[in-house]
Amino acid sequence: MLTLLIIEQVLNGLQFGVMLFLMAAGLTLIFGVMGLINLAHGSLYMVGAFAAAWVAGATGSFLLALIAALAAAAAAGALVEVLVIRRLYKAAHLDQVLATFALILIFSEGTRWIFGSFPLFLDVPSYLSGPITLPGGIAYPLYRLVLIGIGIAVALGLWWLTARTRLGIQIRAGENDREMIAALGVDISRLYTLVFALGAALAGLAGALVGAIQSVQVGMGEPVLILAFVVIVIGGIGSIRGAFVGAMLVGLTDTLGGVFLPELFKLFMESGAATQTGSSLASMSVYILMSIVLIWRPSGLFGVRA
């Protein structure tokens, strides 16, 4: 019984982890290539979720909804890059933080203006809903398994993109020496817009996919954004591999901590106090993990330097 519970919770943790990876990959890519800290990444997650919920409501097709989420988030990302972000690459981090904080305010209130304060709902399509029986007799929701699959596919795709394609070479070159690749005739501002739109599309995809298991509402992006920050701090800023490892660690710690810490405390405390202490500690577990990594490696697991 306990093993079943553990396997189920590990799967939940992986599912949460791959969704965090979709967010963290875009953040770390944008920071690695452009040196920009983007707080508004959570808003792009929200844009994806709202676009998906709206299109799913209008057409009834989940696949169309996902495409809409990708397109809307990429378009919003590209637009914001051209209008605002582009002016911030050379600015101080403080200015970047403030300008992208301002973008969050505009995106959040703008969305509230258009869609109202009530959450929208996006349903898991019938062909993906319901449990599936895994080897060993564990019934697990099919949709969550699909999420894990999509996350791993995106991770592999990103690896292929950066390691094996011409665009990937340009991205990696841009991380190292932007003057040099501009001198070699690569249109650097187009490359930046492309990278930003790619990161935005990943965030939008995550928003739509998660939107189907949670409610779609204003402000849904920020808690995920802050966890994604924890992920890339743990993994090392700029490293996609680090983002993947970090996302898995954070996803598993958060999920398993929430379930097992209260149980653990029940072994030597009375039930009520154990639940209280356990769940409070679980809510801090991710940040404690981050502190430990920081003490051990200040620039993250795969970071080159701070």
């Binding site: 981090h93 509230r112 802050i226 800023i237 209280q276």
Partner: protein, 327 residues
């Protein structure tokens, strides 16, 4: 162009004149609003010491604001329920006395700032921003999950805490208390900037290597500044909780950390009175735009974008015609 000293005195005078006028005009709400300005300014003065002088872009100062608030909330809650705080070994009575609460609030925030600083200052730049943000969020979730003090709903304190010799229930008297606290913090910030500690801190912000070569430890300097900064913001949190007679996890929220930075940016980074004028403008916008439309954050965002993209040095930079220090 106007001299910065003249602007500073004008701001301070305005801040006293408004509530005094309100007393005669019987506009109680204006006094409350100005008290809000003073408390937010005090919190931002705290942040300005880390951000403006020390160059540490902390996106987690809500942690200290919230700790100050909860220090007040928990002590006053135990006083109003007549149940002692049980630490296992010792029991501590709750209290409704402001000086005691302030002492506890600053001490706890200073301790938290020391711990957070010790970890966060191992890093710089973007890492520092994200890590302080994450630690702030840690306190937020902790406050939500800790059911003993209201959890997500927060804690209400029915009667404002007392100060010997004053009746804090009278709005103008409470305003006076907060104003004195702000002035003390401003004098501290001013003295700090001119002191040898402030100068070395400034040097540590610009070129840490040089500070190191003359035999000083930039990390220690920054940590001390961060602790002072956190303590002041914590005191502001205790006052804020007393103003509203309510504490909730919202005091720990990352939006609040962001707003504190906004106050400083609007006023001008590293300026003595930057946080004060910033808080005045912010509360005025919140009140005025908030009255016009529910979606006032859209306009706040647009104004903020404009300031970041097109103006350097905030309001004080604009009035004096001089850019502030770069962070």
């Amino acid at each position: 162009m106007i001299r910065e000293g003249v602007i500073n005195w004008a701001i301070l005078l305005g801040l006293v004149a408004l509530p005094l006028w309100a007393v005669f005009a019987d506009e109680i709400f204006t006094i409350t609003l100005t008290t809000r300005v003073v408390i937010l300014a005090l919190a931002a003065v705290g942040l300005n010491i880390a951000l403006g002088i020390g160059g540490m872009v902390s996106f987690g100062h809500a942690a200290f604001f919230g700790l100050g608030g909860y220090a007040m909330g928990i002590l006053a809650y135990h006083a109003q329920t007549y149940a002692a705080l049980d630490f296992g070994i010792v029991e501590i009575e709750g209290t409704k006395s402001m000086p005691v609460i302030w002492l506890v609030a600053t001490a706890i925030s200073a301790l938290a700032a020391w711990l957070i600083g010790l970890l966060s200052l191992r890093t710089t730049g973007v890492y520092f921003i994200m890590i302080t943000l994450a630690f702030g969020q840690m306190f937020y979730y902790f406050a939500i999950s800790w059911g003993a003090y209201g959890g997500e709903d927060g804690l209400s304190i029915y009667v404002r805490n007392g100060f010997p010799g004053l009746n804090t229930l009278v709005p103008i008297q409470f305003f006076g208390l907060c104003f004195v606290a702000l002035c003390v913090a401003l004098i501290l910030q001013w003295r700090l900037r001119g002191s040898s500690f402030g100068l070395t801190l400034n040097a540590a912000r610009q070129t840490p290597e040089r500070v190191e070569t003359v035999g000083l430890n930039p990390m220690k300097l920054k940590l001390l500044a961060f602790v002072i900064s956190g303590a002041i913001t914590g005191l502001a949190g205790a006052l804020f909780a007393d103003l509203n007679r309510f504490v909730s996890p919202a005091m720990f929220s990352w939006q609040l950390s962001g707003e504190l930075i906004i106050l400083i940016i609007i006023g001008g980074v590293g300026r003595l009175m930057g946080p004060v004028i910033g808080a005045m403008i912010f509360v005025a916008l919140e009140h005025w735009l908030g009255g016009l439309t529910d979606f006032w954050h859209v306009y706040l965002g647009a104004i903020l974008l404009f300031i970041v993209l097109f103006s350097r040095g905030g309001v004080i930079g604009f009035l004096t015609g001089k850019e502030g220090p770069h962070v």
